[in-house]
């Protein structure tokens, strides 16, 4: 039982890691980023390339991939999203616009990956050694992802809720119109949050590349999983994403062990639906409001 729980938590760590960037992007920058998973996969390819071609191990690779991802996110927001955000002040169509625009972005990134990396399944082995945690054999790479999720989650949560800077970030999510009144540069802050989200997506991608097979078409799977977790946790709530991710991991493992592996996905979606029916704004969401 303990070992099942641990296996589940470690799996959940991956989910949480993947979801946290999205909750920043959607919860704070208000960009429903359908290309999120593609960015993640792109980072996975980057890590793979660094490892297989230049022999740079993925952990060091983070040092290259993350800043690059941050820069990309910064650029994407500046070039693509900012005009939409500005426009939406008049039209109020940011949600629809961002869905459509990032849907386009999804195709672009996917297309670039198809052209450069092909459509084949890619995977490599790194840190695929068992580590005994309280009786459960856990792969070191997954454990690392779990640790990273917890560290990122806790740090960001602390920063967002306990510091002035974090509060400014949340403020733009709550009421971007009023933010300038307290000296917040909404554009810059939203852009920063978006870039940070992109960076988290990339860190998820690098981690996942160490133990999961991926290919250029797989991004959507991650986007949707991340969305489910983000929504289940409560929009824009990092702690929510972390806990929802872990919860899904544990439930999936429990169902696979004690019920039927055929029902794991059914169980996670079921859990998700039940949570929403019980708390329409997610586990940690503020009461519903559009």
């Amino acid at each position: 039982m303990i070992s099942t729980l641990i296996t589940g938590l470690v799996l959940g760590g991956t989910y949480a890691l993947v979801a946290m960037g999205l909750t920043l992007q959607y919860g704070i920058s208000r960009i429903m980023n359908l290309a999120y998973g593609e960015i993640l996969i792109f980072a996975a390819f980057a890590a793979f390339l660094l490892f297989s071609t230049f022999g740079i191990n993925p952990i060091l690779g983070l040092g290259i991939v993350l800043p690059a991802a941050f820069a990309c996110g910064y650029l994407i927001y500046g070039v693509m999203m900012q005009p939409l955000v500005t426009r939406s002040k008049k039209t109020g169509t940011l949600e629809v616009d961002s869905i459509l625009a990032t849907f386009g972005l999804l195709f672009v990134i996917q297309g670039i990956m198809l052209v450069t990396f092909g459509s084949n399944y890619t995977s490599y082995n790194f840190l695929n050694t068992g580590i005994n945690v309280l009786g459960a054999n856990v792969a070191a790479n997954r454990l690392l992802a779990f640790a990273l999720a917890i560290i990122i989650g806790a740090t960001l949560f602390f920063v967002l809720t306990r510091t002035r800077w974090g509060t400014t970030i949340r403020a733009i999510a709550v009421n971007p119109d009023a933010a300038p009144l307290v000296g917040i540069d909404v554009n810059r802050t939203a852009r920063f949050a978006f870039a940070l989200g992109t960076m988290l997506a990339a860190s998820g991608g690098v981690m996942i590349s160490m133990y999961q097979t991926f290919n250029a078409s797989m991004g959507v799977v991650f986007t949707m999983k991340a969305l489910v977790i983000v929504i289940m946790g409560g929009l824009g709530n990092l702690m929510g994403a972390l806990i929802a991710g872990l919860l899904l991991g544990v439930v999936e493992t429990l169902v696979a062990t004690y019920v039927d592996p055929g029902l794991t996905l059914a169980a996670t979606y079921c859990l998700f639906l039940v949570v929403l029916l019980w708390k329409p704004a997610g586990l940690f969401g503020k009461a519903a409001g559009r």
């Binding site: 625009a101 386009g104 999804l106 195709f107 672009v108 489910v228 079921c270 929403l276 329409p280």
Partner: protein, 310 residues
């Protein structure tokens, strides 16, 4: 009044022309028409509910798949019309249950809920087939030609747009707009929000189910991964939004060009399809901000103003 009658006659004429088209086209042309009409029907049905209420649903494929799967299961045992009927009834029943359950959700919570729902249904169907019937794929050997499928879809699409037209002129249409603007106000003005939403969701879902059922015989082989493919939900949504989900002809005007664009790109640029499509998409969002139809209207208004000025 005369304008309405004129419009009606034009619509009937147009419909007749569309129905006659397959006789002039080869199999590929019919296939193209069929696919296009299918998406026009899906996008229009989707917009019936999601357009005015702004409840963006990703459950399209859940109902589409239910329709297709019903046909796959029953095609050997029941006459075709009865199969369609059963499919519609199942779709309606599921829609009512889902509708009742989701009434409390709003915004993106609803969006992702519906996505989760579609996935759950797919997982459950898969699990059922694997564990209970012990097969996964099912075969549909119905003697239905592509032309026949096209005609049925055409009827459904026309019906959907007609329903949309009727609703937009009725109190129900106004109720939907009010709900889309402000649910609190809607409640206080005496609108039965739950009832309206449920009714519309059910109508929309039933039509989508029918589209799935009608299209199924085209594939011969049906399995959950094929008929519950989430891409269908996304495409429907994108088409409707692009055309303008709040207008009667918006979804159709989004579906047709987009469908043809997909087709043209995949035929001419099979290797750079994604990149070009993506860039086009982004460009469209920037150039026609409020949907194609609104864009056309804006352009038309500008032309007219210029004409008046001249």
């Amino acid at each position: 009044m005369t304008r309405t009658i004129l419009g009606l006659m034009l619509a009937i004429l147009g419909l007749a022309a569309l129905a006659w088209m397959p006789t002039q086209l080869g199999a590929y042309g019919v296939g193209l028409l069929l696919g296009m009409t299918g998406y026009v029907a899906l996008a229009s049905a989707w917009a019936l509910f999601s357009g005015p209420t702004r409840y963006v649903s990703l459950a399209t494929v859940a109902f589409f798949g239910i329709g297709a799967y019903t046909v796959a299961v029953l095609s050997e045992t029941l006459p075709y019309w009865a199969v369609l009927l059963v499919a519609a009834v199942i779709g309606l029943a599921v829609a009512l249950i889902v509708g009742l359950a989701t009434l409390r959700l709003a915004g993106v919570y609803f969006v992702i809920f519906t996505f989760g729902l579609a996935e759950l249904i797919r997982q459950l169907v898969t699990w059922y087939e694997v564990n209970v019937t012990g097969t996964l794929g099912r075969y549909i050997f119905l003697p239905i030609t592509a032309e026949q499928i096209y005609w049925q879809l055409l009827a459904v699409a026309a019906g959907t747009i007609a329903i949309g037209w009727l609703i937009s002129r009725s109190r129900l249409g106004l109720a939907l707009k009010v709900i889309g603007d402000d649910e609190t106000v809607a409640g206080h003005t005496g609108i039965n929000i739950a009832g309206v939403k449920l009714a519309l969701f059910a109508v929309s879902a039933t039509i989508i189910t029918l589209v799935g059922a009608i299209q199924a015989p085209r594939w011969t082989y049906v399995e959950p991964a094929i008929v519950f493919n989430p891409t269908i939900s996304f495409l429907t949504l994108i088409m409707a939004l692009l055309g303008g989900a709040n207008r009667l002809w918006g979804p159709a005007l989004g579906a047709i060009p987009l469908f043809l664009l997909f087709e043209w790109l995949s035929a001419n640029f099979p290797n750079h399809y994604s990149i070009i499509l993506g860039l086009l998409f982004i460009a469209i969002v920037f150039v026609v901000p409020r949907g194609v139809l609104a864009g056309i209207e804006d352009g038309w208004a500008r032309l007219k103003r210029r004409g008046e000025a001249a």
